[in-house]
Amino acid sequence: MASLRSTRPRLMTAAALVLGASLALSACSSSGGGGEDSGAAKVSKQASTSQYRGTVLSKHFDKPDLVLNDTSGQPYDLKARTAGRTVLLFFGYTSCPDVCPTTMGDIGVAMSKLAPEQRQKLDVVFVSTDPERDTPQVLRTWLDSMGKDFVGLTGDLAKVKAAAKPLGILVEDPVVAANGSVTSTHGAQVLAFLPGDDKAHLLYMAGTTVETYAHDLQLLAQGVAV
């Protein structure tokens, strides 16, 4: 992985990993000083003719069959509730200081740039990888800082792992440190599912800019083909 230097091989490697599917995108950063600026997460997409700036997936993942509690504490069937709708799906946890609030916050800013009728076409769904601490109430409070209409799901971690795995997203048991801090290992990519086939067609790595989200969410809301 350390040999990845130019944009194109990096993209192709990302695509290969995505094709490989059942494993999470492995870390191609931290091979030196450059790892810290998450440069490896910035997969650009020059090889594609798509209007979208996110990574276009060649393998279209099925929307996971996942029933968990939403933030009102009621069962939420992801497949049934979001059938025929555009969905952005992210796995994370609320005690995460950096990547989770940054990603969800940036999506929130991008959503706020859309007209209300456009926003209503998109469902942003956050699935907790730390359900023990992320109760529906905790999740709602956290999500409200980024999007009042964001859907938060929490419940059985085994179900969460099973749902994430076929998407190439690794979720592991959270680890609680002596000082009470929680570290959860979770793939930090965002997947966009399209309304036509309810499958994932686009992927956004951690570090995707607000501008990229704003650009692509606009296209998604307009139903522009990937």
């Binding site: 191609c28 600026d37 609320t94 950096d98 916050g105 800013v109 409070t141 980024m146 570290t183 930090a188």
Partner: protein
């Protein structure tokens, strides 16, 4: 903090300037007589995004610039929080780091999605507009005190 009175005095003077400016620019010098090996540190663009959960888990970001020799950030504390730790986000998780290199004539960037401070146990729930003190302890340059503004959750420097 108490390693050298003269240094503390210097930092105090720097802090006064920093308080006025909103960001800290504190020159530190080692007591070994200077020379090319002494780090010359300044801190730019420090900020704490408003935690998503009020009073909950927070992060801190800043850039340490160094116009001198290499140094290391070995510890961060704050009178505003019971726990400040240094972490590095990886592709799928994050790991605590014991120290961070400040390269000679280079910089240490604590930025979103990369190396960052994890802040817990707030003395008082942070609010927009607050300025919270972070004490950055360097191996050579000693402690640099920075006043860090609390910014909106999605803030980025320059935005």
């Amino acid at each position: 903090m108490s390693r050298a009175f003269r240094r503390s005095a210097l930092i105090g003077a720097g802090l006064a300037t920093a308080l006025a400016a909103g960001t800290a620019v504190v020159a530190c010098q080692s007591s070994d007589g200077g020379g090319s090996a002494a780090p010359k540190l300044s801190v730019a663009d420090p900020y704490i995004p408003l935690p998503a959960t009020p009073g909950g888990m927070g992060a801190g970001y800043l850039t340490v610039r160094n116009d001198g020799g290499a140094d290391r950030l070995v510890k961060v504390t704050s009178p505003a929080a019971g726990s400040v730790t240094m972490h590095r986000s990886t592709e799928k998780s994050m790991e605590e780091v014991g120290e961070l290199a400040v390269p000679a004539h280079g910089s240490l960037d604590l930025a979103r999605g990369g190396t960052h401070l994890m802040i817990m146990e707030w003395a008082k729930q942070p609010a927009l507009g607050d300025e919270l003190e972070l004490d950055l302890e360097f191996a050579k340059a000693g402690t640099v005190v920075v006043k860090v503004p609390v910014k909106p959750l999605t803030y980025r420097p320059g935005s």
